[in-house]
Amino acid sequence: MGQKQGDMVQGTLEMLILKTLALEPMHGYGVAQRIEQISAGVFRVNPGSLLPALSRMERSGRVKSEWRATENNRRAKYYQLTPAGRKALKEETNAWGRQTAAISKILEA
């Protein structure tokens, strides 16, 4: 049940998190939910991969976190992009675009 690492292209989880956070700061569950919604249920991210990924990204300075109250007044850890994270998102999106374009070309050839 739920997402398996193999279902997602290697290394894309971080990019998806970056993209999700680019819209607005969010807490962990929000990120998971947003990814699932936007991908129409194709990607289901469980906390076992999401939280370590967020921790890793925080460690490398792409996101930062703070504790805030949620919409229904609970405390949660909100993550937001840092300038470095924004830059990384741009680079990874570009690289991803080039790669998928190349892959499509090969598949269509």
């Binding site: 569950y29 939910q33 906390p47 076992g48 939280l51 300075g61 609970r74 949660a76 850890k77 470095a84």
Partner: protein, 909 residues
């Protein structure tokens, strides 16, 4: 900046672990709440929602584990956990830990001790500026003085050559001269009591060439070393200064040596001991004071008195080849102009055709010790290495057995989620802990042991004073060695132990699941230990037997009951003429009248003190290759032969009729007589020094004395000539006394007698002739002792190894033995069954070890005496010892097996 943040965050996480954990818990809870909330909104009941959210998350611990692993600090935490766990596990089996740590400590300690000795003697650079730029002229393999022109690479140089060369050469930034002899003398500092002093005579350029700056005051300079007799100044060594209480007022004091006052102008920096490893002069004195320091040793302005070592510093950018070329050019010119004259004959030219300067690196300084010790140190290094290998093999087999015993534990840990690499890492941590404990213990003992080794190897107080305490380099060596050993003995058992069939291991009640390969590896390790031990034991027994052979050698003289006093006659202040002879004879006469003294005599040499050898030509005997070899010379007093108990076999010894103005006489030994006069009597024949048949033949042979050993016990019979000192006036260091009774009472009596004759003559060290003989074999003694010690140690380790393997094998086979016995096998059959296993291993080990031992023994054949490297007796003794050790080690487990009660054994299953 990312990495910086990473590190700081990691460190923060390490130190604020509880907070980090709390935040993690909180975040997970928040996640769960949010997830449940969303599910509720989607229509689930609160219970259902909470349940589903929890299932989605899975084990919170697993999630937390994953989060933790995102940071590098977890690796440290894991290692820390491993470490604590390892220490706990080791404490749980103290006997295993003790055996492992002690055997490793012995292995690592031996290697460290020998390496630190090797480091000091062979490897360490001189504590000077840029040592790699320093070169020595020649190989430094000679000391003393020579007046010949060697037709080979020169080793000793004259003062005029040094001065001319330093001016003319273009490749060195400086050239320094050092007297090849270090002078032992007595002196007084600022009028206080006399003390023994070692002085090194050096050129004024010495300190600047070495790049040594003063610790206090100043060092010697060119201006101190101008004309002979000028420059009565001295630089004290740091260790001398330290022995004199680090007196701040030392600089400016005077030290009086042989009647000359020297002003102490400075103290050398700490750690600087000169250019010769194994010597540590108390004072450096300008070469210009040579005659004042040692009246009989005056080479200033004498091109035939070649007694200096030259050390030079290469100019930056000059290669060794360029320097050699330039030096030899100057050298050839100098030989031509100074020694050969304007029109040298073809023969003269041919005689110096191969004379040359060979530049050798002086980065590590000069050392006689290095030559003396290099072979023994190499042998000891090999032995220590073998011991460490055996210890490792032994530990590996112990760990293998332990791994088997712990297989249930490993299976359990893997079943609850530990990865194999994690367990291997933890097992290796255990090995490292063992190795580290062993290393700590080893280094602690090496601290003492390397000093002990040094004193065992050499009785010279200067050598014993060398600083051999392990330094950072040695500790680095030990650390590398430790890591290496831990990997060596820990890796395979760790990998083997974790190669598990989980279900099988967990199911088995006894927790024993040993694949056959693990047993065969353990067997291979035992075989390797036996083979290596055989190499060690065979070597040790060869060294021991050689030593025994040497001690049985007939020295010719009687070494018992002879005291050898080292006298400083210079301090009497007499010139080298009849007055000195008179003093020497008075001392001999006075001492001979003491009760209990049979004979007493001065001599140039007693035994193993160096040699003075020359070419001699006998009148009327044509020169042949056989009789053209150098013969050994000695200058002795009238009572020398009776002091040494060397009987005169023909003619007479020396007496009062041999005076400075009477015809020159000599006594030869039997070998010399045989060499020149195989068919006739040598008495009354004349000879002279050198190879020129037309010499004066001024020396008459008056007697023949029994052969003796002169330089070493292992030497072949040497031709030797004795001269009376009444006809060859000189200072002596040796004064030998043959006595009966107590040495303890004799020594003060002799001291008193000498003081009565002349209170200025100082008695230095006192030894006995038998000590001198013993000391001549100190190297061999050292090797024999250490190799035997290590050989026994190795057998002991093998003993432990075999015991461990067999106990384990017996435990494994209990049920099999039970069945055998139930079917009628006798106890003796069972005993044999187990012992047979070990005998097979021993046989294989010996079969491998014998060729190895023979090969190894060949390498040390230089150090053997009266034995062939393939000496069968030594080999058989070693084999017998190993078999005995194996049987002893195997008997206990085998007996235990034979006492198995079949009913009990079968019920166990």
């Amino acid at each position: 900046m990312g990495w910086f943040k990473n590190i700081t965050a990691g460190l923060k996480a390490l130190f604020t672990r509880t907070r980090t954990e709390r935040e993690m818990d909180e975040e997970l809870r928040a996640f769960l709440d949010a997830s449940a909330e969303a599910k509720r909104r989607a229509g689930m009941s609160p219970e259902q929602a909470a349940y589903a959210a929890r299932i989605e998350m899975g084990s919170t611990n697993a999630v937390k584990h994953h989060i933790r692993q995102a940071g590098w600090e977890t690796a440290i935490e894991n290692s820390w956990q491993d470490l604590r766990y390892s220490v706990r596990m080791l404490f749980k089996s103290p006997v295993f830990t003790l055996v492992a740590v002690v055997s490793l400590a012995l292995g690592i300690g031996a290697n460290t001790a020998i390496f630190s000795l090797m480091d000091v003697v062979m490897l360490r650079s001189l504590p000077v500026d840029e040592p790699s730029q320093l070169v020595l002229f020649g190989d430094g393999r000679a000391a003393g003085s020579t007046n010949s022109l060697p037709n080979e690479s020169w080793r000793l140089y004259s003062d005029p050559f040094f001065r001319s060369f330093s001016q003319k050469n273009e490749v060195f930034s400086g050239v320094a001269a050092i007297d090849s002899i270090e002078f032992s003398t007595h002196g007084t500092v600022a009028g206080e009591g006399r003390e023994m002093m070692h002085a090194s005579l050096v050129s004024g350029s010495y300190f600047s060439v070495l790049g040594v700056t003063p610790g206090r005051g100043r060092v010697l300079t060119e201006t101190d070393d101008q004309t002979p007799g000028s420059g009565a100044v001295a630089v004290a060594s740091y260790s001398w200064w330290q022995r004199h209480g680090n007196d701040p007022a030392t600089v400016g004091k005077t030290v009086r040596i042989e009647g000359t006052d020297y002003t102490i102008v400075g103290v050398a920096p700490q750690g600087f001991f000169g250019a010769t490893v194994g010597e540590s002069p108390d004072f450096w004195i300008p070469l210009s004071m040579e005659k004042e320091i040692s009246p009989g040793w005056n080479g200033l302005n004498d091109k035939w008195f070649q007694s200096l070592y030259l050390i030079a510093r290469l100019k930056p950018g000059v290669s060794a080849a360029q320097a050699t070329a330039n030096s030899n050019l100057l050298f050839k010119q100098y030989i031509r102009s100074e020694y050969l004259g304007q029109s040298p004959s073809q023969k003269d030219l041919a005689d110096v055709e191969h004379a040359q300067i060979e530049l050798t690196s002086a980065a590590r300084g000069l050392s006689r010790l290095r030559r003396q010790f290099s072979l023994p140190l190499e042998i000891l290094t090999t032995i220590a290495g073998l011991v460490l290998l055996i210890a490792c093999a032994n530990l590996a087999s112990l760990l293998l057995a332990r791994g088997t015993a712990r297989s249930r534990e490993f299976a359990m840990r893997m079943a609850i989620g530990a990865t194999r690499s994690r367990i291997v890492r933890q097992l290796l941590t255990e090995s490292f802990v063992i190795a580290l404990l062993g290393a700590l213990l080893g280094v602690a003992s090496a601290w003492k042991a390397s000093h002990l080794l040094l004193t065992m190897a050499s009785h010279s107080p200067q050598v014993a004073a060398m600083n051999v305490s392990p330094d950072l380099r040695v500790l680095g060596f030990t650390l590398v060695l430790t890591i290496f050993t831990a990997l060596l003995f820990g890796m395979t058992p760790a990998i083997r132990a974790t190669r598990l069939d989980l279900n099988g291991s967990l199911k088995q009640g006894r927790g024993i699941a040993a694949p056959a390969s693990r047993i065969s590896l353990a067997r291979a390790l035992i075989v390797a230990q036996i083979a290596l031990s055989l190499v060690l034991l065979a070597g040790a027994s060869l060294f021991l037997r050689s030593l025994v052979n040497l001690t049985k050698v007939d020295t010719g003289f009687n070494k018992q009951n002879v005291l050898v006093f080292s006298l400083d006659e210079y301090s009497a202040g007499l010139p080298e003429d009849a007055r000195l002879v008179n003093l020497q004879q008075q001392i001999e006469d006075r001492v001979q009248t003491l009760p209990g003294v049979h004979a007493a005599s001065f001599s140039m040499f007693t035994f193993n003190q160096g040699e003075w050898s020359t070419d001699v030509t006998v009148q009327g005997i044509p020169r042949t290759p056989k009789n053209s070899q150098d013969v050994l010379n000695n200058v002795v007093g009238n009572g020398f032969f009776s002091t040494m108990s060397l009987p005169i076999v023909a003619g007479r010894g020396f007496g009062s009729t041999d005076r400075i103005d009477s015809p020159k006489v000599a006594v030869v030994n039997q070998t010399m007589a045989q060499m020149f006069f195989p068919d006739s009597s040598p008495i009354g024949r004349h000879f002279g020094f050198g190879d020129d048949p037309s010499h004066s033949g001024d020396i008459e042979i008056v007697g023949v004395v029994k052969n003796a050993k002169y330089v070493g016990l292992q030497e072949d019979p040497e031709a030797a000539i004795y001269f009376p000192y009444s006809q060859r006036v000189q200072y002596f260091g040796n004064f030998s006394v043959r006595y009966s009774g107590e040495a303890g009472q004799m020594i003060p009596a002799v001291r008193r007698a000498i003081a009565e004759v002349n209170p200025n003559v100082l008695v230095g060290s006192i030894s006995s002739l038998s000590e001198q003989v013993e000391e001549s074999t100190s190297n061999r003694r050292l090797i024999a002792k250490l190799s035997s010690f290590f050989g026994v140690l190795a057998s002991f380790l093998v003993c432990i190894g075999i015991y461990g393997l067999l106990s384990y094998a017996v435990a494994r086979r209990t049920s099999e033995i039970g069945i055998r016995m139930a079917l009628g096998a006798k106890r003796s059959n069972v005993l044999w069954l187990i012992l047979r296993e070990i005998l097979v291993l021993v046989a294989v080990g010996i079969a491998i070890g014998v060729p190895l031992a023979l090969e190894g023994n060949h390498l040390v054949s230089k150090l053997l005496y009266g034995l062939s490297p393939a000496d069968p007796a030594s080999l058989f003794t070693s084999i017998a010892m190993l078999v005995a050790v194996a049987l002893i080690a195997g008997y206990l487990p085998a007996r235990k097996a034979s006492l198995v009660e079949p009913t009990v054994a079968l019920r166990c299953e």
